[in-house]
């Protein structure tokens, strides 16, 4: 490898030996492409004319008005494909072409990365296969249909918990047999080096734009930048160009699921231990013997027991803070954004909004808070409506129980 595979003590390339040459040639091609004006221009043109960059920076008109703080959205939800994932899928797709690969494979959890890979395969004319946990296929049907409409093959993975973790395992297995002809278009800033580097560099356009837009709008920098963290690609994307601005707080919001005191959450950085998963040494949710656990989140896109190694380092150095937000808090934020701003956010992004609102409400001074609204929530309607129906039923049961109609013990 040419570049270090490590972020502090986290990172590395823990893969079968057979994949090492593929990772080495990928790293070399990426570094070469970054220095090639033709490549940079082609990606820039695709992002502008096809994907719709740059995305707007929007100052919320209603949200947070009960506090003195101002909340700003970086509108990645308006990007083609419906989420920030498109930024880096297009970048990796062009890299795959540069490497002469004739097939793309990818994993997906919520389906957003699958959709981004499918549209990349379509627009670049490369056959594409997406591995997706059978449980995720169940809860993210609209994205499955989108992928198939754009010509991608969606392969259900039934091993393990049938979620994102199992889908990554399956994609890695495929790649270890197919690397000669196939590019593994990994979807987040995790995995073996050079993926965390490549995905970060293709996603940092979010923070680069947002920083310039914010300066232009206000003449200063925000007090805090807030993003949701599953694997961590949208957070790294908006954090990176603010890392050198020491006064800007960087806050990652992890899915606290049913609560950090329960076993049902995906708060890897807050509750994990260092270990090796999917090719890198990072924080992971694991049991007392090192078996990797299943995470839980109402958001399929944050439902992952690992996290990008650079986040583990940003946490360890204290440059970024990581907090949790429960399913219930995310759902409340979702409703608030929908009703007060007329925006249906992805449930992933609703976690970031919930974190921003908490910050605004507890601050003793007015803040400018920049939120990465990483995706739109059309894919989540079934999840949200089901959650609201269950809440209504629970609420009714509680009323009956409080009235003594049911033994609530």
């Amino acid at each position: 490898m040419i570049r270090s595979a490590y972020y502090g003590r986290f990172g590395g390339s823990f893969v079968p030996e057979i994949l090492v040459p593929a990772l080495e040639s990928l790293e070399a091609a990426f570094l070469d492409a970054q220095a090639d004006p033709t490549f940079v221009a082609e990606l820039e043109t695709l992002l502008r004319t096809y994907a719709g960059r740059e995305t707007p920076l929007y100052q919320c008109r209603q949200l947070g008005r009960e506090t003195d703080s101002r909340i700003w959205f970086k509108r990645e939800d308006l990007l083609h494909g419906g989420a920030h994932k498109t930024n880096q899928a297009l970048g990796q797709g062009l890299l795959a072409q540069r490497l002469g690969k004739t097939r793309l494979i990818a994993e997906t959890g919520a389906g957003q990365h699958g959709v981004a890979t499918a549209l990349t395969g379509a627009v670049l004319g490369i056959p594409t296969r997406i591995y997706m946990g059978a449980a995720d296929i169940e809860r993210q049907q609209p994205n499955v249909q989108r992928m198939r409409l754009m010509g991608a093959e969606v392969v259900p993975v039934t091993q393990g918990g049938a979620t994102l973790k199992a889908a990554i395992n399956e994609a890695l297995r495929d790649w270890s047999a197919s690397y000669a002809t196939t590019h593994y278009l990994l979807g987040t800033v995790a995995g073996p080096h050079p993926f965390p580097l490549i995905v970060r560099e293709f996603q940092r356009v979010i923070g680069r734009e947002a920083r310039a837009q914010f300066l232009e709008a206000t003449g200063r920098l925000p007090d805090a930048v807030v993003a949701s963290v599953g694997g961590g690609s949208n957070a790294i994307g908006i954090f990176t160009d603010f890392i050198a601005d020491a006064a800007v707080r960087l806050i990652g919001v992890e899915p606290a699921g049913e609560g950090l005191h329960t076993a049902r959450h995906g708060a890897t950085l807050q509750r994990g231990r260092p270990g090796v998963l999917h090719g890198c040494y990072t924080q992971i949710l694991q049991d007392d013997e090192g078996q990797v656990q299943e995470s839980h989140s109402i958001s399929a896109g944050l439902d992952y027991p690992g996290v990008g190694p650079e986040h583990a380092q940003l946490q360890e150095t204290g440059r970024a803070q990581y907090v949790g937000c429960t399913d219930a808090e995310a759902m409340a934020a979702f409703s608030l954004v929908a009703r007060s701003e007329g925006i249906i956010p992805a449930v992933e992004s609703a976690h970031a909004v919930a974190g921003a609102l908490k910050l605004a409400r507890t601050s003793d001074r007015p803040l400018d808070i920049l939120v990465n609204l990483s995706g739109r929530g059309d894919k989540d309607l079934a999840t949200v409506l089901r959650y609201q129906a269950e809440e209504a039923a629970r609420g009714a049961a509680n009323v009956v129980a409080a009235a003594g109609g049911i033994d609530a013990r």
Partner: protein, 285 residues
């Protein structure tokens, strides 16, 4: 010397002009009690060495058969802490048989590398191979294994370049695990890769003897391995498939014993070694 059981095994087999046959089991598959019985039955049926896997939740180098075996073991409640006494029991029952452990990196890192090596040595494990720790990450492990007296074996995939062959030849202890196919473990009808060039390159570098694995499922594959110049063959998927395919302990045992006999029977000189055809039926007895 950590590799002395391997050295003794290879020397003994060389005298008889036989390859080593090394079956692979996942510890705790299908249960702790039955696992020990199956492993012992395999040794009694002619296995020269053993390759044993600690069950891990995310076995990225393994295909469907070994994944199913891992799932069986974990669903039966197998704890890593209980695998150490099991390994000790295998060692006590078979004092001279080389025992190799296949372990994913997280189980070692989680335990702490030095503590893990100490456990291996105490349980009588001869070697460890880490399928997701390539050359790039050997520094995490090499020193602790060397100090702890447990051999750290390396995997060499088909198509490895000269630099990789040389590096693996110099660092792999006990044996070199040469894989006969790209991709993950699995039982194939035909061997996918010809490893002859890699094997002779290893020999030129003075490497430990090579065991060929990934896809070894039939006696003809052992003949082919012999023609490539390896010192032995490892069968994993084909073994654990037999455990998964049968409903009773007796049937599982019979299937494993028959397979080991058939495969071990193919390890001697064979007149049609270069023409993989039907195995000798006499070895089924």
């Amino acid at each position: 010397m950590p590799a002395e059981r391997y050295a003794a095994m290879f020397a003994r087999l060389a005298e008889r002009d036989e390859l080593a046959f090394v079956p692979f089991f996942v510890l705790g598959d299908p249960s702790m009690e039955e696992n020990l019985a199956l492993i012992s039955a395999a040794v009694e049926a002619g296995a020269d060495g053993l390759e044993l896997g600690l069950p891990f939740s995310d076995p990225i180098a393994d295909g469907p058969a070994v994944q199913s075996a891992v799932t069986r073991a974990l669903e039966a409640g197998t704890r890593i802490s209980a695998c150490w006494p099991l390994l000790r029991a295998v060692r006590n029952a078979h004092p001279t048989v080389p025992i190799g452990l296949l372990v994913y990196a997280n189980l070692i890192v989680h335990a702490g590398v030095e503590a893990f090596v100490t456990q291996c040595a105490a349980a009588g494990v001869d070697s460890v191979v880490i399928p997701d720790a390539p050359s790039l990450e050997q520094a995490w492990f090499a020193e602790a294994f060397a100090k702890g007296g447990v051999a750290l074996a390396r995997i060499l995939p088909p198509g490895a370049d000269a630099a990789r062959v040389q590096e693996v030849a110099r660092s792999s202890a006990g044996y070199v695990y040469v894989t006969s196919r790209g991709g993950v473990t699995g039982a194939d009808d035909t061997l996918q890769a010809d490893s002859t060039a890699v094997i002779s390159a290893l020999q030129k570098e003075g490497a430990a003897p090579a065991l060929l694995g990934f896809g070894i499922a039939q006696p003809t594959h052992v003949h082919a391995a012999r023609a490539m110049g390896v010192a032995g063959a490892i069968s994993g998927s084909a073994v654990v498939q037999r455990i998964g395919a049968h409903g009773t302990p007796a049937a599982r045992r019979a299937a494993v014993v028959a397979f080991v006999r058939e495969m071990k029977g193919a390890t001697g000189p064979h007149p049609t070694a270069n023409h993989p055809i039907a195995p000798r039926s006499a070895n089924r007895a």
